[in-house]
């Protein structure tokens, strides 16, 4: 079952913060976050595992609430390079399902 992401789109000015949410109707084992720029392949940002383990880039932070089956990606002090579409992928029984994406635009 596909996870639900919110918001669908967000526009920021450089230096502003944003939060992207991902929720699932089923119990999750892990949540993956990727960013995709227009016309390019998705690029890995972070993995959050059940039990608290995290793996990802130092400048990216995220949370994983196992009970609520939700994850949030926190983008602070946004830069122009943060623009792109952010996808969360939820893993249930080794099956990965991606959300529809959140389009982030950072303006000067």
């Amino acid at each position: 079952q596909q996870p639900v992401q919110s918001p669908q789109a967000v526009i920021l000015r450089e230096g502003e913060d944003a939060v992207i949410n991902c929720s699932s109707s089923k119990a999750l084992y892990s949540v993956h976050w990727y960013r995709q720029k227009h016309g390019e392949a998705p690029v890995f940002l972070m993995i959050l595992l059940k039990g608290g383990e995290q793996k990802g880039h130092e400048k990216i932070s995220a949370s994983f609430n196992e009970k609520k089956q939700q994850s949030s990606l926190y983008l602070t002090a946004s830069q122009l390079s943060y623009s792109g579409t952010y996808f969360c992928g939820t893993e249930i029984n080794n099956d990965m399902r991606f959300g529809a994406g959140t389009r982030l635009t950072v303006k000067p």
Partner: protein, 115 residues
Amino acid sequence: EAGVAQSPRYKIIEKRQSVAFWCNPISGHATLYWYQQILGQGPKLLIQFQNNGVVDDSQLPKDRFSAERLKGVDSTLKIQPAKLEDSAVYLCASSPNRNSNNEQFFGPGTRLTVL
């Protein structure tokens, strides 16, 4: 380290024709994924291989789509016959294995247009 390679990058065909896409994963990666990404949507998993065995193909339209990874390295995805709704970017990704703490490395994709 070389990334995931895919070819062709673009393909235009007419409906009812056949098409094949090729993917070469990162060397040593046991797990290979094929995704379909329709414009404006997230990637949809079509099939997952672990070495040369299929782990998950529950979302693969088996009446027209097929995929193989005979030697556990590169893989081919075929559509026969193609429909208009198959127009999408087909992404191949690989990871060292199926462990949940492994990120997926995506290739550049093949953009298919069915006319």
